[in-house]
Amino acid sequence: MIQVENLHFAYRRKEPVLQEITFGVSQGEIFGILGPSGAGKSTLMKILIGLLPRYGGTAMVMGQHCDSLKASFFSRVGVDFEVPSLFERFTARENLEFFRSLYSRPCFQVDDMLHQLGLTQHADQKVSSFSKGMKTRLNFARAVVNNPDLIFLDEPTEGLDPTSAAAMKNIILGLKGQGKTIVMTTHNMQDATDLCDRVAFLSAGRIAALDTPRRLVMKTGAAHLTYTYVDNGVEQTRTTPLNRTAEDNVLSFLLKANRITSIHTDEPDLSKVFTQVTGGRLEP
């Protein structure tokens, strides 16, 4: 679906934003692009949808070069931009009807989409009176209204409450179930773990790591087991790697003596990978 080879990009008269980017996305996959703010995630997306045609290297989407996309491309692609792109003076329904009318292929039903995103009540309310989360959801609906085969989502769960975020994730997984290919960026590592088949970490314009979330997590090393017990009236804490518990004699002894007061594992997760590969902080 997407092939990118040795991609370079710089904004006019600026330092390079992207360097030596190489990856591929196959049909039916959810591909995550992660990285700190300003890493170039949105820039990479804009290149892939043809908004920034002056790049170096090769970037091909659905068999077309990204600097010369044809009309057939646009009818099969949906993009959720990071800034809401909606008519403020239109109602939610009018917005979707408008964007629907730009396509000649069969589109999703507006009422169904509003219902799935929990916006039915607000369907006839002007967008200017919407909250941030409502705009985010409507913007998502706008992006996929044409029933696209390839979907780009730039931070789709940003500004959503946990319930809406979960609903949104279900919709994204539903779209994947229909065989659609999805490329998304996010700052939420949990979402990336839940949704993405593979993720690429962008750091300082380069791909710092690319693999399935699970394998990336495993590569950062085994999880640790931390337990506490009371010894002579003083609480003690010990840590041991999960794959070496059998060799920890203190642990075996305490377990047999029923003396452990608390026990938990700290699983490595994508946030750890993020900190490791980018050497930076994770945005909330």
């Binding site: 804009k46 949808i49 908004l51 920034l52 044809k70 009309a71 057939s72 646009f74 009818s75 692609v77 949906g78 993009v79 931009f81 990071e82 800034v83 809401p84 792109s85 909606l86 008519f87 403020e88 003076r89 239109f90 408008f98 964007f99 009318s101 730009l102 396509y103 000649s104 292929r105 706008r142 044409n146």
Partner: protein, 262 residues
């Protein structure tokens, strides 16, 4: 290839622009204002009316249409809509023409309306009845010619208005460039109209349109092509240039260039 794209996106964009600008302010206000302006001139300056009405109308159109077009584009730019149009497959030409379409309708409405009802030369009432023979003998072609020029002129100004819309990022910048555009579009026309000096050749759309409309050939209803040829040709060239500029700027706008984009 996408099929059946001809009508729908175009109509949707056109309608969206009307909605965005607000029904009251544009649908009716524009022709009404034009009529009111011409009526005032007719009462205040009955002598100069025949000479000035059409030119004033042309200037009014050029200015009004460029302001409306820039306002609409700025609104879309602020709401990050232009990249969304782009990704929906809206081509720069179609975007530009949907903007021009509005201007053409307004030009046709107000131009015809004012020329038809306001210009004593077009319709003459003799003994309480319309002088149809005079109308058919020459006033009708004159009217069509005037309306066509009005349309072309307003389309040109919309195309040119894409330029400040692309360049400006702030409301202040837009207001400033709107003023510059107004001076550029209407200044020479006003000068041409009011100057007591012999009027030389001025390569300017508003001037050319105004001159053509009130040229002796048209006013005396003797529509011979020869004296009109040069101004018409140069005006056509100017229109092509405007279209090219408009197409370039529309392309840049849809690609999210010129700040305030998604």
């Amino acid at each position: 290839m996408r099929r059946g794209v001809s009508g729908r996106p175009f109509r949707a964009l056109y309608k969206a622009q009307r909605r965005m600008l607000g029904r009251a302010s544009t649908g009716w206000m524009y022709p009404l204002l034009a009529v009111a302006g011409v009526a005032v001139i007719r009462f205040l300056l009955p002598e100069a009316y025949r000479e000035t009405a059409s030119l004033l109308l042309a200037m009014f159109l050029a200015l009004g249409m460029s302001v409306i077009a820039t306002a609409a584009v700025m609104h879309e730019k602020e709401n990050g809509l232009l990249p969304a149009f782009y990704i929906s497959g809206v081509k720069p030409w179609r975007y530009l023409l949907s903007r021009c379409c509005y201007a053409a309708v307004a030009a046709l409405l107000s131009g015809c309306f004012v020329l038809w009802f306001g210009d004593p030369a077009v319709i003459r009432i003799e003994k309480g009845a319309v002088d149809w023979s005079a109308l058919l003998q020459g006033n009708l072609p004159r009217l069509c010619m005037g309306a066509a020029l009005m349309i072309l002129l307003s389309v040109c100004s919309v195309c040119l208005a894409m330029l400040p819309a692309l360049m400006c990022e702030t409301l202040g910048g837009y207001t400033f460039s709107g003023a510059v555009l107004a001076v550029l579009l209407c200044g020479p026309a006003a000068w041409d109209l009011l100057s007591p000096l012999p009027q030389g050749f001025l390569f300017h759309p508003a001037v050319l349109a105004g001159r053509l409309i009130r040229s002796p050939e048209m006013l005396t209803r003797r529509l011979t092509l020869e004296p009109l040829l040069m101004p018409l040709l140069s005006f056509a060239l100017f229109a092509l240039l405007c279209l090219a500029i408009g197409r370039l700027c529309a392309g840049g706008l849809l690609h999210g260039k010129g700040g305030a984009s998604a």
